[in-house]
Symmetry: D2
Subunit: 337 residues, 4 copies
Amino acid sequence: MIKLGMIGAGRIGRLHGDNIARFIKGAKLEAISDPYLTDDAKQWAADLGVTKVYKEADEIFNDPEIDAVLICSSTDTHSKYLMEAAKAKKHIFCEKPIDLDIARIKEAIKAADDADVKLMVGFVRRFDRDHKGVAQVVKSGQLGKPHLIKITSRDPEPPPLEYVKVSGGIFTDMMIHDFDMARFLAGSEVTEVTAIGQICITPGIAQYDDVDTAIVSLKFENGAIGVIDNSRAARYGYDQRVEVHCDKGAVLDENNLENHIKISTKDGVEIAKPTWFFLQRYNDAFVAEVQDFVDALVNDTQMPVGGIDGLMSVYIAQAAKISLDEKRTVLISELTE
Amino acid sequence: MIKLGMIGAGRIGRLHGDNIARFIKGAKLEAISDPYLTDDAKQWAADLGVTKVYKEADEIFNDPEIDAVLICSSTDTHSKYLMEAAKAKKHIFCEKPIDLDIARIKEAIKAADDADVKLMVGFVRRFDRDHKGVAQVVKSGQLGKPHLIKITSRDPEPPPLEYVKVSGGIFTDMMIHDFDMARFLAGSEVTEVTAIGQICITPGIAQYDDVDTAIVSLKFENGAIGVIDNSRAARYGYDQRVEVHCDKGAVLDENNLENHIKISTKDGVEIAKPTWFFLQRYNDAFVAEVQDFVDALVNDTQMPVGGIDGLMSVYIAQAAKISLDEKRTVLISELTE
Amino acid sequence: MIKLGMIGAGRIGRLHGDNIARFIKGAKLEAISDPYLTDDAKQWAADLGVTKVYKEADEIFNDPEIDAVLICSSTDTHSKYLMEAAKAKKHIFCEKPIDLDIARIKEAIKAADDADVKLMVGFVRRFDRDHKGVAQVVKSGQLGKPHLIKITSRDPEPPPLEYVKVSGGIFTDMMIHDFDMARFLAGSEVTEVTAIGQICITPGIAQYDDVDTAIVSLKFENGAIGVIDNSRAARYGYDQRVEVHCDKGAVLDENNLENHIKISTKDGVEIAKPTWFFLQRYNDAFVAEVQDFVDALVNDTQMPVGGIDGLMSVYIAQAAKISLDEKRTVLISELTE
Amino acid sequence: MIKLGMIGAGRIGRLHGDNIARFIKGAKLEAISDPYLTDDAKQWAADLGVTKVYKEADEIFNDPEIDAVLICSSTDTHSKYLMEAAKAKKHIFCEKPIDLDIARIKEAIKAADDADVKLMVGFVRRFDRDHKGVAQVVKSGQLGKPHLIKITSRDPEPPPLEYVKVSGGIFTDMMIHDFDMARFLAGSEVTEVTAIGQICITPGIAQYDDVDTAIVSLKFENGAIGVIDNSRAARYGYDQRVEVHCDKGAVLDENNLENHIKISTKDGVEIAKPTWFFLQRYNDAFVAEVQDFVDALVNDTQMPVGGIDGLMSVYIAQAAKISLDEKRTVLISELTE
């Protein structure tokens, strides 16, 4: 039985905590830490039967009973906690992104490597039944070599301006999931990035040098090309679809819908909308993700998403921003070399 | 916090038990009883933190801490436990059917009424998101009066002959769910039943005077008509669809699929099959069902499915068998009067 | 080049005439006759380049240049013209039904047989791409033996009362198409018929001893069972779907839609309605039907739909009416023996 | 009755000719010319009842009875015939592209303007029921301002190398249809073009400086952005889909399928492929296109697709090639100014 400590008991932390209590086999949540330990958080921990409840993450790092930690704190603390956890010889599940700074990401990955602890980055979409199924079809080779990857990813409603201000921009905050998905589906590294973008939804974000609608084209090492479109406001729900066109055909997935009901009248035919947002769409994927993390610990196998995945997606995001600004294709090698 | 006792810790009991532990708000599982209390069942109870583990249901009935019971034992014991629970003043959730004998069903319902305890019968499909949604559209009146109800219900694979032998026949064992669904969708009582059937799948069931493929037509008090088709072997999964055609149009639901992936090649386009069987399809409905039971206790409101529903569905099943045998329409009033 | 004469230049006749001019290979329309030869009909014939335009069908029968006739006149004249055409040694395409009277149908079929002319009855739905495709999958045997045939057939709007009055009733007028489809899909003759019906849409039809909503269950010689539902008013278009469940799985078709457009907003997702009525849905089938007739003449092969098909569908319709009235299953053998 | 002359009786010319004979109201085909007047072409003209059959287009231009011409000859002769037709005061339907050379296109458009004859360019996809329906939803304003246009366009099988050699490259030969569609859907002119491409299918096309898989991103004057993906080999049929995401939601169309049949077994569920290629998919659009041309002549209204549309799509195609070569965003103004 793997004993887990959780750093950060906010929305995503509690989501994982509830999932661990309900569904995860082979692990239990033993401790939580949160600097703003609210009464609400304490109650939540008590309800789950977690008795080790701390303000300081250190207490978790110093607890010899804890095998692994889940870093669910705010983004700007991820790399710091990651390095401290590594030093404490705890295996690590870290919510994405590790950091927005390439040097910090590299340092964090190195810390985990040096400490010989396992590190998984939380790109939850890889664990979605449909996206994973598409990736498996591609990987199986049944359709031959991939030629073209297409990813549609739209949030239902735009975030508040305050969020955009500190988000790091659409590529790092939102499309980073799609960059990881693109690498996952292509089974290959991105080599070139070409971006265009526009402010269509929230005029106010101009002041933060950001866009809310964007298209990014990619080239991959294996010869495939790809394209991602992002919008901050689909309005009709969470539009999450992927397509891979290969030598012998194509595999794609369609949106998960709120229900399977169809109403037909002389005025038209109505069907359900896509599920509203990531908590609905990736509900089961959050469980599968942590189960895979635990299984990799139990079986001492490779993590399904590693530090390199956290690093590469940030490189691509940075290249996209440069491309957007300079109106040219940016080679990933410009950043890595 | 409602304290629940569970009578019978077999497959369906454990399903409810796990759901209560994971999802149900406002209630906890306090005790279980099972005459064949296996080590496996004991371990399961221990894992859930249930400490009151008995062989005899009496111990639950006699426990003043228990507010309500879930009768999940074998079908032939339902009415007995129901009456004992009523006598002990416990509210009752009873898996369907209450009994196969009309007199016993009436007696059981009367026992609950006399004891002034609430009684819910476990017709789980009413709590399925899609079927429930269809029923809500009908009930809303937005499409006008219902004209025609259609229900398709096919199991993926035929049951073993030993099961068929004691099942009570396709109408009582399998189509009973659809009879309840028909009443639920029509919002009206069935008045006439006309059945045809055939042995298409399992020749051996002829010895048990049963069929494996059947079509039953219905008339309802409100003027609607309906039809149900059942097959013991769809082969491609669990085919569960309903349609209601009304004055101004129709509402229907389509099968839940295993995923939303589409593979296109020159040889054709492949999509996913329906989910395999009731544990997959009605997974969430099992949770919603018990939550509604608990909510009705907490709020002291009417049970969403009552004893009358358990009774009427058996009447219809019996009428269907007579119709099949006598090749004529059978009035429900022939049985009730 | 087969030379065709057309008896009756009303809606359906002109439809066939236009199709022959535009699409049919190996035949041309040489003559038309219509007792009410309107200026409009004359103009239509002139536009098509048909120079032999008569009031009397006799002139067509007596024309040695005519190889075959299409009987598109009013229903009550079908059998009369059919027998006259047979006598004149013309091959015959006859719109359905041949007659509403069994004896007349038999006489007409015998006339064609005796004259050794080919006879095809216009059950156009057999030539619909989708229904035909379903029948071919069943016939191929890839799914094993058929168990259950389901046919949904609903008109968009109810006909006027005057139409109902002379229509012969829902089974003979409307469901007759579905009876033929059922035989076509099952690849077997119907042996038993069980009907229920209701007046849901047009109260006034009660005076004509008719219903507007009906469900008919069928048994077939090959052991399959089936069910057809009809409604005179779907409201959302022409609902035309068939399903065949077999040993190894099922094959079905979905409605043809007006377009493939999907509009998604926060208020819901809208898709297109089914095509409006038979002129839209069976547009291409009308062409394929006549082409198959012509091909069978050119190649001297068997007609795809014969007199027996015209006869059996009327038997089933009559059995359905008796079943509806007597609330019992009716054997086809009760009528044929 | 508009009298039409057709220049070029190859595949596309005969398609239009057959459509005119069968479907087009208000016009008739009076003359054809083709320098390689084969016996086959002569027979085709005779079957259609066209008696004026020439080798030289001049004979059509000099015929005072001819109101308008359809230029269906080889691409390299379009602009020449267009200018000659204009000089002869004939209205003009010209298959796309007018020319591959911008100066020639401008000269041809000017010739038509100067002669005060109407000019329509044959971008047939604008007349597809589904694409047109999507454009109408956008234009109606019901979804608000367009943000993002997506076009998927894949041919089923790659063309022969000899074809590629003279095709002008994927942007001018194939994606030109999508550039026009993008302008049509956005209701706005393209201002910036960014292309990436790859050789995934036919290695031999490298020698012709072409690619077979390409993604082109667009910016529009009205603030929308867009993306087109093209592949020369989808394998599963003709993949033709458009999406427009707007302020209040999205409108898209799905592929036309070969049929609506679904086969379900334990091995999976099979549905139909998209229609095979443009002759199937755009069959009805070819009719609608010429009817609209004729209607604009009859009613003396503006042509639905004008010379400017022929010009702008070539500008975008040229910008795409420069972008591909120079790995940068190209402004349309770089070419027009």
